[in-house]
């Protein structure tokens, strides 16, 4: 899969539009899922996806396989664009997924979509579950809300009903611990 994506990216770098479409088909659902969790609106998530793929098309020749895997490279582009979109503050009028919108939002009650559940699932995959479990529960929850939903400090404070100052401390400490987990996975 990784080798396939690398080959596709190499062809995209030469302007191969067939390869570009294949790359899109292979990766867009995962990347759209990431964008959707962050911006929480399907129209905005599609805008993020569009910008990210246009960006990837323009930058494909600069992709360095030695530095990152294709999905890491693409996901970073999508997350950065999604976070910028979210932080822009320009909320659109469409319904939020969390507000019970149909379609993709119908799965919102699915426990797989709980941010803490996503973090734990990722930790299992990355073999850092024991390290993650050693992080204080509130810190873990703040980390999950920040990473998967892109929530700001104040939004997280509202969500966990705690002072924003505490949330900042929890996030900073939690991130420091998570960094150590990711630096030296079990």
């Amino acid at each position: 899969m990784i080798a396939d994506l690398q080959q596709l990216l190499a062809r995209v770098a030469t302007g191969d539009r067939v390869a570009f479409r294949q790359l899109y088909d292979a990766t867009a659902p995962s990347l759209y899922g990431v964008a959707l969790r962050i911006v929480r609106q399907r129209d905005r998530a599609e805008e993020v996806l569009q910008d990210a793929f246009v960006n990837a098309w323009n930058r494909a020749a600069g992709y360095q396989a030695a530095l990152s895997q294709p999905m890491t490279w693409l996901t970073a582009i999508v997350r950065n664009r999604a976070l910028d979109e979210l932080r822009s503050g320009a909320r659109h009028g469409a319904a939020f997924l969390d507000d019970g919108e149909r379609g993709p939002a119908a799965d919102i009650e699915d426990e797989r979509l709980d941010p803490l559940g996503l973090l734990e699932q990722a930790a299992d995959t990355l073999a850092i579950r024991a390290c993650l479990d050693a992080i204080d529960g509130l810190q873990r929850q703040c980390l999950a809300l920040a990473y998967y939903h892109g929530l700001s400090h104040s939004e997280i404070a509202d969500h966990v009903r705690s002072p924003i100052g505490s949330v900042k401390v929890w996030l900073r400490r939690g991130l420091a611990k998570l960094k150590r987990c990711l630096e030296s996975p079990a």
């Binding site: 030469t14 302007g15 539009r17 570009f20 867009a28 659902p29 995962s30 759209y32 899922g33 990431v34 969790r37 962050i38 998530a45 599609e46 996806l49 569009q50 793929f53 246009v54 098309w57 323009n58 930058r59 494909a60 020749a61 600069g62 530095l67 990152s68 999905m71 890491t72 490279w73 996901t75 970073a76 997350r79 976070l83 910028d84 932080r87 822009s88 503050g89 993709p104 799965d107 699915d110 797989r112 979509l113 996503l118 973090l119 699932q121 990722a122 995959t125 990355l126 980390l143 920040a146 990473y147 998967y148 892109g150 700001s152 400090h153 996030l171 991130l175 960094k179 990711l182 630096e183």
Partner: protein, 242 residues
């Protein structure tokens, strides 16, 4: 060893990748990445470590309109990295990188007051002071060929050849200063490819303060003061950044 500096950049990079920065801080840190390769490397490091966390997110199917829009927006545009804003100004990177780095330091100081000294030292860690005088010399077709830069009070002129020049055997490429007033005077000899440097007769500020243009000619030997230059192969503006 002072671990503050790498820790600061490492922490900022992790916060950027993880997404806990505000819009304003994100913008500033992106500017830091443009200026400081160490910041970009730190971000790339954390992207490799943290992005796999996103693998647990369930996929979702975008509408057909998404691809149609992407297809439309990329039609007629070749996939080339040089299209990025940063790459367009890559020729100025050696000079602007350090200069911008210093400016970014001020921005970071406002965001993270306790971090002023560490980031400032990061700028210094690049090994040079910010370039003050920068020249870009182009050929007859206006293609950039030589990037010349020097520090304000330094005597070293750094040269980067943006493409190789063919120099006849036994000849040298001579860099000239073309002052606003008075005849051209020689600065030094540049290598036909890659990066090189030479020592000037005096500091940049004294030699180049009144010099708006630079030129390169092919000479039989390194030129001495008072020599008349051969026809110029390349010419370009010389600007003082600060």
């Amino acid at each position: 060893m002072n671990y503050d500096r790498p820790e600061l950049l490492d922490r900022l990079a992790a916060e950027y990748v993880f997404g806990t920065m505000s819009a304003r801080v994100r913008r500033r840190f992106r500017a830091v990445q443009l200026a400081l390769p160490a910041a970009r490397r730190a971000v790339e490091f954390w992207e490799r470590r943290m992005t796999p966390l996103a693998r647990s997110v369930p996929p979702a199917q975008p509408s057909a309109a998404a691809w149609e829009a992407i297809d439309r927006r990329t039609r007629g545009r070749t996939s080339r990295p040089v299209e990025s804003a940063f790459s367009r100004f890559a020729w100025l990177k050696p000079a602007l990188g350090v200069a911008f780095g210093a400016i970014i330091t001020l921005g970071l100081a406002r965001l993270y007051p306790t971090a002023v000294a560490p980031v400032d030292e990061f700028v210094q860690q690049r090994g040079t002071l910010p370039a003050s005088y920068v020249g870009l010399l182009t050929d007859d077709s206006n293609n950039p060929v030589v990037l010349a830069s020097s520090t304000r009070y330094g005597r070293i002129m750094s040269i980067k050849m943006l493409r190789k020049l063919d120099v006849p055997p036994g000849k040298v490429l001579q860099l000239w200063a073309l002052p606003k007033e008075g005849p051209p005077f020689p600065l030094g000899v540049v290598a036909p490819e890659g990066q090189s440097s030479f020592q000037m007769a005096d500091t940049s500020d004294k030699l180049l303060f009144g010099v708006p243009r630079l030129a390169v000619s092919v000479e039989k030997a390194p030129a001495r003061a008072g020599t008349t230059p051969a026809p110029y192969l390349l010419t370009g503006n010389c600007v003082k950044l600060w």
